[in-house]
Symmetry: C2
Subunit: 403 residues, 2 copies
């Protein structure tokens, strides 16, 4: 059977994620890895989840916890998120919240909602690899939102039209972005909103790391800034994607989209058709755990990850040769390294794995056009401070070998 | 903001499911409802889930249970499914299994895998409403697989070509289908395989109710029949969709696709891009519960649902006026009723709700072309035998009122 003739055209763009393929090779215990941008499992609030599951499976709740439920999500969890969004400057109601199976599903659904083939999405250069993966299924073109350079709104619109569609949305990860660790300042956020107003497009705000700010002042979400302009979330074009994966636990797959009710109600229909609803039991458990430990637990995460961020920045300063640059994140899990212009991150990874037992993610995969060969991503979330220092020493040695 | 201009063309076909909208209205306790085709929560294996969650959140397992995991699914659960498939006549390996978030997600992914706009899917007339919902997102045309009438393979191919695409797959729910309760006999299954071979298309076998056979001999899945023809699952065009929703619990959202490895590996990439993976914790819990209680538990479900099926068939015989016909399911949850030719199921529902406090699902929604106005679906899974008798009495009265 010739499956190629049966597959839809969208399948041409679905390729293996290099990061996930790489992660499969990292089971050897003697490798120091800064590749996986995942939470430290030693920090999971296990006891709170044990208590939450005991409650959810108690006689009073088990019938609901194990049964089908509504596509929009578990009401009390949506209410908790409403309060959380209000604290971020986003007044809203339950009807502005859809529960998704992680914020990865949120990105997939938003691509599915808006992108017809040959439409254009404005994204970062580099951007979150999972966003490229999710959007690719809907066969868009990409254009550079960050850095914008001197592109005008007219330039974006014309390029999109030449490519056979129109600009549908601007996508940006706003706080300590994966992969760069960089944060959009308030002016940059307002600038994206101005551009979106001019182009009459949506804005997807990826806020997966929002709760992990170590220092500096919090900056309001673009959704909050837009509500300040327009008065009500239901008049806004910004769709905010949140996640419990970086704060409580990724294994339960619970995230959310917060946005204008006419959009949320269409997304509810999409979810109904795609997987009916996210796990009832997990939504109930996340609700209990969020209500009992979210504030204290995220404070502890910030304390631990901050020490690791500090250790990495100190070690980079000590061990990197001249000509290597890196970002200084105010939170999150990532530092982005720019190598000397002619050095290839993928070649460096091969050399580092072989000679230094060291792993990281080459940066090329994060660019829609596969540029950025001389970049790489380091995640400090899974390593302790001693490993971080040793790892950066090894990275410095590997770079010197190739220089 | 004009969202209509931002939405993708596929959104034109996403409409509210009438069944789910209807279910929202059924909270009044004095209504007897045969509308929801969902398991009886009194039968959930709660204790087994309590034990499974305690294990999954124990020190030895909690780090894995709460962490990200691979897109293809939890290995030990895939192994359990491999054994289950072997018992059904489908020898396969772990690489032939993808874990999905319920079989609804399996249908969504298979539509996404194969359907470009204007391609054709062959389906039942009527068919599972959730399949229509999932496939609609990929903008196909539909043609009638069941009943086939005297359509030849050439007729299907020509119609599909005239509609601007080609036939991509035949979709069939094989055992005690939702909504009809009917089972495809062996000849009908072989006939679909013949057609698929001639047209060189895939076959989607929806087997959500397979474990709920009350009487009659089991019929091999189409995938087993095709393996008997071709020697190996990896040479087969049939993609089998299984689910734990009707056997253990729907609230955890765990199902699977079993098929040729080259297809499963593409679906793994799709899942990675769409939601990374199904809940790690829930896959571990389902694995434990399946291994500890599946055989005994499904035997108990069959015993209880069989009594309800018997009660419904007896009551229909007693209370239906002349000119009303219904199916005699050998398992599952549904009886399909055909009313006198000019009677409208939706009008009957309104009348029955108002005068008899009785609910069911009018059949029209299950037809891709909205025909079948004189049909309705009754689910007996949630009602006890006394309610079933009383309900059929009320249904008979409502039908007599409109005759």
């Amino acid at each position: 059977m010739n499956w190629q003739e049966i597959f839809a055209t969208r399948m041409d763009r679905m390729q293996a994620s290099e990061i996930r393929e790489l992660l499969k090779l990292l089971d050897q215990p003697d490798i120091i890895s800064f590749a996986g941008g995942i939470p430290d499992p030693a920090l999971f609030p296990v006891q709170a989840f044990q208590e939450a599951m005991t409650d959810a499976l108690s006689p009073a709740q088990s019938s609901a916890a194990l049964q089908y439920s509504v596509s929009e999500g578990f009401g009390p969890l949506r209410d908790w998120i409403v309060d959380e969004m209000a604290a971020l400057g986003v007044p809203c109601t339950r009807d502005n919240i859809l529960i998704t199976s992680g914020s990865q599903q949120a990105l997939d659904y938003l691509g599915k909602l808006m992108l017809s083939p040959n439409d254009t999405a404005l994204i970062g250069w580099p951007t979150y690899l999972g966003a490229l993966g999710a959007f690719n299924a809907y066969e868009p073109h990409y254009d550079r939102l960050i850095p914008r350079g001197n592109r005008s709104a007219e330039d974006y619109a014309k390029t999109a039209k030449d490519n056979g569609g129109r600009v549908k949305f601007a996508y940006a990860s706003v706080d300590f972005a994966n992969p760069t660790g960089e944060t959009l300042d308030r002016a940059a956020r307002e600038n994206i909103l101005d551009l979106a107003d001019t182009l009459d497009i949506a804005v997807i705000e990826d806020s997966a790391y929002q709760s992990l700010r170590f220092d500096g002042d919090p900056i309001p979400p673009m959704l909050a800034l837009e509500i300040a302009r327009k008065g009500s979330i239901n008049e806004c074009r910004t769709l905010y994607c949140g996640s419990f994966s970086k704060t409580l636990a990724p294994g339960l797959r619970v995230g959310w989209i917060c946005g204008a009710e006419p959009v949320i109600s269409r997304l509810v229909l999409m979810k109904q058709a795609a997987d009916l609803h996210s796990s009832t039991l997990n939504q109930m458990a996340i609700n209990s755990v969020a209500r009992s430990v979210f504030t204290d637990h995220t404070a502890n995460l910030r304390r631990v990850y901050r020490l690791r961020r500090d250790a990495m920045l100190t070690a980079l300063k000590e061990h990197m040769p001249d000509g290597v640059e890196w970002t200084k994140p105010e939170g999150g899990m990532f530092v982005w390294v720019t190598l000397p212009k002619d050095m290839d991150g993928a070649a460096l990874l091969r050399h580092a794995l072989e000679t230094q037992k060291l792993a990281f993610v080459p940066g090329q995969a994060f660019f829609a056009d596969r540029s950025g060969a001389n970049t790489l991503r380091l995640a400090y979330s899974l390593a302790d401070e001693a490993q971080i220092n040793e790892g950066m020493k090894r990275l410095g040695a590997a770079i010197r070998d190739l220089a």
